[in-house]
């Protein structure tokens, strides 16, 4: 049996396979979730995993989850992230997921979702904010973090991505150092995430998931702002997909 978890995020689409084979890969979502889904299907077939076979169980999650028409189950990213997070951090933990279009805080107790929080429609405090600012500074996300690490934080006070971008443009106009602007950008995202997470009683074990989950630099800032240790995770961007694969297994066993 193969258990496949597919997490179609707004920016990246993650796939995790368990069972007969252990496998993980990521693709950019691009403009069409449907097309990305087709590519994932083909990639799985190359690995000898045919999603139309009875030997393969698929759980789809993420904002594009409904586009995965071959899925056996469709489960929200909250539940899948919680399951994946549990696998990475244990039965009692808090998962902070900084995603491409939204940021989630999920409280897991005794292995189940106890409570969760998502940012509002606005993109402040999400990966989108970082992406837009990196583009504005003409660097990649990794370069943005590297630059921020050696910069001095310049205050970016606006909570709105559009207005914050104007602030960044002003700093560029004033000839401020790119490193300092980068430090300000990362700091402002961490502040927004901490503000959201601070609304809940977080457990002692906190992990970061999502596309920037392996950044020690980011978890350090976030830990400082929260007053609690946030651990980076190596495969954190796959948390949703891993959770989906685990749920595929559990759901088909339960039947």
């Amino acid at each position: 049996m193969y258990y496949v978890g597919i997490d179609i995020g707004s920016t990246a689409s993650k796939t995790a396979v368990r069972g007969g084979k252990e496998l993980m890969f990521v693709l950019p979502t691009g403009w069409s979730s449907k097309e990305t889904t087709m590519t994932i299907r083909e990639k799985l077939l190359e690995e000898g995993i045919d999603v139309s076979s009875d030997e393969v169980k698929v759980v789809a999650t993420g904002y594009g989850r409904v586009a995965v028409d071959f899925a056996d189950y469709v489960i929200t990213e909250i539940t899948c992230h919680a399951r994946g997070g549990r696998e990475l951090a244990g039965d009692d933990c808090t998962i902070i997921d900084v995603g491409g279009q939204d940021t989630k805080v999920i409280l897991v107790a005794a292995g189940s979702v106890q409570d969760f929080l998502m940012n509002d429609k606005c993109s402040a405090g999400t990966g989108k904010f970082l992406e837009i600012m990196a583009n504005r500074l003409g660097v990649t996300l990794q370069e943005l973090f590297d630059m921020a690490d050696i910069g001095q934080v310049l205050a970016i006070s606006s909570l709105c991505t559009v207005f914050a971008e104007s602030e960044v443009i002003n700093y560029i106009g004033e000839g401020k150092k790119r490193e300092d602007i980068a430090a300000g950008v990362v700091d402002s995202v961490a502040a927004k995430v901490a503000q959201l997470a601070g609304r809940k009683n977080l457990s002692d074990k906190i992990i970061l998931t999502g596309g920037i989950s392996s950044s020690v630099y980011f978890t350090d800032i976030l830990s400082r702002k929260l007053g609690k240790t946030v651990q980076p995770t190596e495969n954190g961007r796959y948390a949703g997909a891993i959770g989906a694969a685990l749920l595929a297994e559990e759901k088909s066993r339960r039947r």
Partner: protein, 424 residues
């Protein structure tokens, strides 16, 4: 519909713009209501009333005016309908619940005003709602800052009387509200030329109480383990209660309840056993705002109660029918209305008690605390609501939204995740 166009034209409406609204309504009604399975037959009446929302009731109101009667438009569950009806006038709820009217309101109001106020002002100024055209006078109230200023803007276009609602619930505040109700009586008498006699008032206290009793009976049915009616259908009934003829509404709702009680006895449910029961708390859902009920009920759960103005706040508790003098009657009316618990009051512990009581009465599995964007009062009170529910061990999901559909997918994710959490 041809007749409607003539009526709308005579009301001075912007027909071109209004046609756009008329064009989308049937689709919305079809998607939200008619797609539901196993609906009670008694919903036919409400389906008809909604399908011709700008035709049937407006023409009745106009007929009333042609007979010399007046129509008062109201915006709040604190405004006592019985006083208006006692002067042989008709009260009709005017709150706007569609994004269609919001841009019109934004022409004169700050963007960060709640959508309900923006839609209401827009519906009047853009001339795209017959009810807003028909009402001879609007009765406003001082429930929030946004509304207070909106009345000033509206009063340049239509006569407005504003009732000063106290914001605390001390004995002197109840007395002050009684004085405001007496002042409303004077305004209504002068405007209609009809006297509000104790006999007339007693008769209309009964009329409105009977409407409340019909709604209470409907909600009683929703407490049952067997769910005889969807939350979406119950919501539209609550919304129609604000503008329908009160006697006919009570009659039709009681008729529906006969059917619902029979369903309960026979175990006929609109959802499968074990479906999670959700209560919504918070800001009102003015017609045609069906967004959240639709999302919840197409995400595997069912709404069994609304602790909202379009819900329990509208019908719970009755006005004492035994009083005989105007003064006693007005005191009784003030007492009943001041028992409503809106977030505009401070402190407002009684609302938290209501929510916990209702959660138990309706056997809810989880609560969604809904805040209409930019409603500071309910948003702030959400802090206490969530804390109290947590202490009671009742799962709660806080949601802030407006009338647009742009956040529908995000809301669906949150609501689905909440339902998955409850099912786990």
């Amino acid at each position: 519909m041809a007749d409607n166009h003539k009526m709308w034209e005579e009301l001075g409406m912007n027909l071109e713009l209004h046609d756009q609204l008329c064009a989308v309504l049937p689709q919305a009604v079809g998607d939200v209501f008619l797609s539901q399975e196993n609906r009670p037959e008694g919903m036919d009446y409400y389906d008809m009333v909604v399908a011709d929302i700008h035709g049937i009731r407006p023409s009745e109101l106009i007929a009333h005016q042609e007979n010399g009667g007046k129509v008062f438009g109201t915006f709040c569950v604190y405004v006592p309908d019985e006083v208006i009806f006692a002067a042989d006038a008709i009260a009709t709820g005017l709150c706007g619940g569609s994004q269609f009217w919001v841009p019109g309101g934004e022409k004169v109001l700050p963007t960060n005003t709640c959508p309900l106020i923006k839609a209401s002002v827009g519906a009047r100024l853009d001339r795209t709602c017959p009810f807003f055209r028909i009402a001879d006078m609007y009765i406003g109230e001082t429930t929030c800052d946004g509304k207070k200023k909106a009345w000033e803007i509206l009063s340049e276009d239509v006569p407005v009387h504003v009732m000063d609602l106290p914001q605390m619930k001390r004995v002197k505040d109840v007395k002050a509200w009684a004085e405001e109700i007496a002042a409303l009586k004077d305004v209504v008498e002068k405007f209609t030329g009809n006297q509000v006699t104790p006999e007339k008032l007693a008769e209309n206290i009964k009329l409105i109480n009977n409407k409340r009793k019909a709604l209470a009976r409907l909600y009683e049915c929703r407490k049952s383990e067997t769910v005889p009616i969807s939350g979406t259908d119950a919501l539209v009934i609550s919304q129609i209660a604000f503008y329908d003829d009160p006697a006919r509404f009570a009659q039709m709702t009681n008729k529906l309840c006969d059917e619902l009680e029979k369903r309960i006895a026979e175990g006929v449910s609109v959802v499968s056993a074990g479906t999670k029961r959700i209560m919504l708390t918070g800001t009102p859902l003015a017609i045609p705002n069906w967004k959240l009920h639709n999302i919840v009920e197409t995400s595997g759960a069912v709404v069994v109660c609304e602790e909202m103005c379009t819900g329990t706040r509208y019908f719970e508790r009755y006005v004492d029918e035994t009083k005989e003098t105007l003064e006693e009657q007005i005191d009784a009316i003030a007492e009943r209305y001041m028992g409503i618990n809106c977030a505009c009051f401070t402190p407002n512990h009684a609302r938290i008690d209501d929510i916990i009581r209702l959660a138990k009465e309706y056997k809810v599995d989880g609560i969604i605390d809904v805040n209409l964007k930019f409603c500071n009062l309910y948003d702030t009170e959400g802090y206490f609501v969530e804390r109290a529910l947590k202490e009671e061990g009742i799962p709660v999901l806080g949601i802030e939204t407006d009338y647009t559909d742009s956040d529908a997918q995000q809301l669906r994710t949150r609501v689905s995740a909440f339902v998955e959490m409850l099912n786990n």
